[in-house]
Amino acid sequence: MTPRQSNRRLVPAYLATGGRARPSRNTLDRLTVLYGATVTAPAGLRPEALRVLALLRPGALTVAETASHLRLPVSVVKVLVADLVDAGHLHARSPIPEAEQIDRQILERVLDGLRTLKS
């Protein structure tokens, strides 16, 4: 076989939203956590929306993670997600604000504990 010639994208990102990059709600952030609101996939959705729902069905992901899994720009995924949230298929939860974040020391201790577990 010849070496990998080109990994140029075949399907451009604008196709996912029909060229829109302005989400219907501006509360979404890269770290907004998404989780599915319905268990069954609703009928009549476009493929990319179904794909988002399917990706989120086993558990929650942030917007950035969703974008990475779908290999789409975050801006486009925000539009998709905003539409789905509007339609009631998804729930979005804002990231935990900076001030309420858990102490770094505790995290380090948890990390250490985990390492110990693994050893």
């Binding site: 196709l15 956590v33 399917a54 925000k78 939860r93």
Partner: protein, 552 residues
Amino acid sequence: MGNIAAAIRCSFAVATFTPHTRTSMTSIPATLLWCLSAGTAAAVVMTFFLVRMRRGSQALRRHLATAEARRSAAERGHSELAAQLRATEDELRHLAEARLPDLATSLAHPHVAVRGLRDPRFTATDVDRSLTSAMDQLAQAVAKERARVDEAAQATMRGATTTIQALLYRLQTLLQEMQHRYDDQAVAQDLLQADFLNEQALRRVQTTGVVCGAWPGLTRDDSHLADLVVGAMSRLRGYERIQVSNLLRDPVGVVARAVEPVAIALTELLANALHHSHHELPVAVTLQQGNRGASVIVDDYGIGMHADEIAYATRLLGGGEQVLLTELGDPPRSGFAAVGQLVRQYGFTVHVESSPYGGVRAVVYIPGDPLLTLMDETAQPMSAMAPLPPQMLHAHSTPLGVPQTMSQGMSHAVSQTASQVDPAPGSAPVAAAEHTPARAPEAEPVRTPEPTPARAPEAETAYTPEAEREAEPWHEAEPAHAPDSASDAGLPRRRRRRPAVEPERPLPRTEPVAERSPQESATRWAALQSGTLSGRAEAEYRIPRPEGNDQG
């Protein structure tokens, strides 16, 4: 006559002379005798002359007659020759004024008929042969010159399009990187628009290049057929009217060398469908899998094509002949010509016909043997915008359905086993009633056609933690990571978290949430608290020796 008169005059002279010679009587009879003999002799001479004269006049008369006949024959011949000359001149004039212009026009427009000889009497004569030969030579010279000019034009265009195409690809890369880099709405919006415009320009340039004999300009990896259709559609204005339904049973892909050609062909056919149908009508695209290949069927509900248009398209799409730029019209309609070129070079086929809906149906058939391949959906998942086959859509809609096709980290076989086994522990009471009957028949035929023996053992081993994640939530990371690291050995990618709010609810929401009694809640929270406490206690206990595990 003169002779006779002379002879008579002579005999009279003899008679008048006789009285003077009367001196002797006996000389009279002698004289008479002499006279008589002289007269006889004169008569004989005269007769001889007479006969001779008559013979001469006869010869003269005959001579005269033949001369007369010859003259008339010559006259006739002359007039015939003159008529023939006139006819030949007419024929030549006809050649110059009618047949050669006809020929010149017909070389440019093949439907124009070239007139024949004006005078049918020339058929199969030397004149006919000469004129035909002259016309043939003219036709050959014109055709040769036209091909030469066309090749020069094509070479120029090829050079230009290749360069422009390369530049547009660089622009595309840049735009794509920027799309991933900038989240700002306004910027992102502009970037998407610019990307779309760039894509349209690329399509135009690429098609023109292909018509001019350039190669498609890009080699891709093996790609899903559905991705290819969606990618082709993304290059066209009005793509939102295109409705793709994917009826493929297997993850059919197109081999690397044919990806871009097929995409170009599909783009042109879709462009034709979009262009010739009203801007509110849909264009239906169906992906169909056959025994020996796969087809993409493009149906529009537009104005359709005339019989001669279909014939023209069929001729071009057959790919049998080199198309000249001059044949494409102005503005050049290069779509079918480009498709024809690709068909000839890459071996798929395109068929265009009037559809039963009144529009046009175009079918791209990709033979399985050289051009198709089965894709590994784990290593190379379909893009998010490509429609899933119906069985997978259905699988997605079942409760608890693990994303079976796309989930990048998760192997196909894992999801398969998971989806078949999962319902048993948790969702049995409620879901069994309505969902398991639907799932049972469709899970079997859908999944079994694509078993990969190599993957089976992996499925066995990977399944265990996946099934147990209900009980042990921490294990959910395990099955996800195993194939992930195997597939793309890049940075580790976090899979997903359990829903933080409702961690233990695999059931449909039909079950009312509020039914939990306060006692039960108390027990649960107590269990959680005690678990947390014991965990922390253990951690505290183990913390004193954290070293030595840094690599773990």
